[in-house]
């Protein structure tokens, strides 16, 4: 087993065998004093975000901002190329022929919006994650886990947070029906 003096404690992990039990336990952890926790699941479970008390994702805002940037850039680009940089009379069409610019405006909005969605998602998720190894191979297979994390040191001197007691957290997870409850540590992928 891991020695406490070694790698940094990531928290206390407990396993569940089915999404239903996980969901019930998660809601109870949310309503407890443990404010820092996360679930680990092999697939996205509908309703777990609410059970965990997570706010809505901000990815759509990133998409919106970049998609409209694409719209504006594509128009300015085409307008400048045909009306400013070297105006050409092509087939007697007006120099600024807006309807003909629409396809490229549309495509560039999608392109920038889509790439921003992907990289925004990676940014919010802290991916690529090269430093923290997965806690257990069964998490990407068929088991569901809750991780109760140590509370960070409080900066508020009037209300000091009590030090994290892993044994208490282990006990709490066991009362929720978790199996294989154990302490886990932050380790690199290849260490």
């Amino acid at each position: 087993m891991h020695k406490p003096s070694g790698p940094q404690l990531a928290g206390v992990l407990g396993f569940f065998d089915d999404p239903e039990s996980l969901m019930e336990a998660t809601a109870k952890v949310r309503d407890s004093n443990y404010k820092h926790f996360d679930c680990f699941t092999p697939f996205a479970i509908h309703g777990l975000d609410a059970a965990q008390g997570l706010p809505r994702s901000r990815v759509p805002y990133v998409t919106g901002v970049f998609a409209f940037t694409g719209t504006a850039l594509a128009f300015l680009w085409q307008y400048s190329a045909h009306s400013k940089w070297w105006p050409h009379n092509i087939g007697g069409k007006p120099l600024n022929s807006l309807p003909a610019y629409v396809p490229i405006i549309f495509e560039l909005s999608i392109l920038l919006g889509g790439l921003a969605t992907f990289f925004g998602m990676l940014y919010f998720n802290g991916l690529p994650n090269l430093t923290k190894r997965s806690f257990d191979p069964s998490i990407t297979n068929d088991r569901f886990a809750i991780l109760i994390e140590p509370t960070p040191e409080s900066v508020d001197d009037d209300h000091p947070t009590p030090p994290f007691a892993p044994e208490q957290a282990e006990q709490f997870l066991k009362t929720l029906g978790a199996k294989d409850v154990r302490k886990v540590y932050n380790e690199g992928w290849f260490s």
Binding site: A44, P103, I110
Partner: protein, 475 residues
């Protein structure tokens, strides 16, 4: 009988055989973790040989110019552009499955979306290759595709449909690839956690970006996935519309029609679904994925093939009607000439393969018969090649002036190049099924019967979905 089917409260099970979550991983990972079968090698070597043949024919073209092809005045577009439209069209079914069916909450898409999306990407790559090489002098003429100015700030003409096409196809390729990769991340993580070999583990860890399955990650992931579906839907409709503008914006009788964008999109989905059926019938057989790509999946796809086939048939009829109704002598001549002129055989191959043969799918027995659907899907692929051939060649070979009339048939060099591009496509598809999970495990698990409290093996065959709370955004 029929009454009972209507009364059935829930849909058929999307995954048959009472699989558990762990068995999903087993089944999907099996082909990736074993040495490829003899059948795989036969397919792969055949594809390599086809590609090699195409490469030789392309070399012949590069060396001697496109005089090696059958193109001349007045037919300046032939097999080259036909092949381009053919492959771009094939891509559309993948996006329809991954994006449009996602927005419509069609849970059955989860079994087939990964391989269909892979097909999209490889088909668009193939289309990109055809359009790069169709100029014959790639080192001179492929650069005009890229929007950059000359030294006096003269840019390509952004009002030209050909330039729109560059943007549409590159955007389509980029977004499809990102969407596909996004979906792959959790599944690569599943494969990674099973890996025994050290190098395999390192490679998969990097490819999975270190995904750990945290629900805080799933939150943003699902949000991004929904947005991808949302933006891919108008994108896929725009791509084949823009491809159709290459023709519709010109003034050639037979091309200059307003029906082209929807007609092309319907045809693209039609041909794409046929290719999905062709590929999946083989893949489910070869890799033992029959529990995930079930007969119900195939039947649903066959229904879509029949529907879009009839849409395409409607477009053929409507084109003809409008050509007559327009009162334009040139339009009228073009269409009568299409059906009864020198290229009558191409026209009737097209109509038979695309409109008549898919009618067999009215019969449930044929919809659920693997040999029948495989043969029909091949006919549809052939028919859709001929559709583009008919549109392109028959509209060009009779110019406005009879003195400029001509004919066109692809030369053996062009057929070689076509075969080579088929090989190119299949090389990538075979590598995909060999190295990456062909079933979206993370999504399939969400729509399976969920194990419930107390019962470790809670899944029941026959589709009782009472315990189903999974599905993430698919629910």
């Amino acid at each position: 009988m029929a009454n009972m089917e209507i009364m059935k409260p829930v849909d058929d099970a999307l995954v048959t055989g009472a699989r558990t979550f762990a068995e999903v991983n087993e089944d999907v990972a099996r082909p990736l973790e074993n040495f490829p079968t003899k059948r795989w090698w036969v397919c792969f070597i055949t594809a390599m040989l086809a590609f090699f043949m195409g490469a030789c024919c392309l070399l012949n073209t590069f060396k001697n110019g496109i005089g090696m092809w059958g193109l001349n005045q007045p037919v300046g577009w032939g097999d080259d552009v036909t092949t381009f439209v053919f492959w771009v069209g094939i891509g559309h079914a993948g996006t329809l499955i991954s994006a449009i069916l996602f927005l419509f909450r069609q849970k059955w898409r989860t079994g087939i979306n990964r391989s269909a999306e892979a097909m999209t990407i490889f088909a668009v790559m193939t289309a990109g290759m055809t359009i790069m090489t169709h100029t014959g002098r790639v080192w001179l003429a492929a650069f005009w595709l890229f929007p950059y100015p000359n030294q006096r700030m003269l840019w390509p003409n952004f009002r030209s449909p050909l330039e729109w096409d560059v943007f549409a196809v590159t955007t389509y390729f980029t977004i499809s690839t990102v969407f596909w990769y996004c979906g792959l991340i959790p599944d690569i993580a599943s494969i990674r956690d099973r890996a025994k070999n050290r190098f395999r583990k390192i490679a998969l860890t990097i490819a999975s970006l270190g995904w750990r399955g945290s629900n805080k990650n799933w939150l943003h992931y699902e949000s991004a996935y929904l947005i991808f579906a949302g933006i891919s839907t108008p994108l896929v409709l725009s791509v084949h519309s823009v491809v159709s503008f290459d023709f519709a914006v010109s003034q050639i009788p037979g091309w200059h029609t307003t029906i082209f964008p929807p007609y092309f999109v319907a045809g693209a989905i039609f041909s794409g679904f046929a290719m999905v059926v062709t590929l999946l019938v083989l893949a489910r057989e070869a890799f033992g994925l029959k529990h995930y790509i079930t007969m119900d999946h195939l039947e649903k796809m066959n229904k879509i093939i029949m529907t879009t086939g009839m849409l395409v048939g409607y477009a053929y009829a409507m084109e003809f009607f409008i050509a007559w109704y327009s009162g334009s002598a040139f339009e009228r001549f073009t269409f009568i000439n299409r059906a009864f002129g020198p290229y009558w055989w191409a026209y009737w191959i097209m109509v038979s393969c695309n409109v008549f043969i898919p009618q067999l799918f009215w019969v449930k027995k044929f919809r659920r018969s693997v040999p029948v659907m495989f043969v029909i899907s091949l006919y549809v692929n052939i028919g859709m090649y001929f559709e583009r051939f008919v549109i392109i060649v028959t509209s060009l070979h009779r110019d406005f002036l009879p003195s400029s009339w001509g004919t066109y048939l692809p030369s053996w060099t062009e057929w070689g190049i076509f075969t080579g591009f088929c090989g190119f496509f299949f090389i990538f598809f075979l590598l995909f099924v060999r190295f990456l999970p062909a079933i979206a495990m993370g999504e399939v698990k969400g729509v399976m019967d969920q194990p419930t409290k107390g019962s470790r093996l809670g899944s029941t065959p026959g589709g009782v979905t009472s315990g189903s709370i999974g599905g993430g955004a698919h629910a």
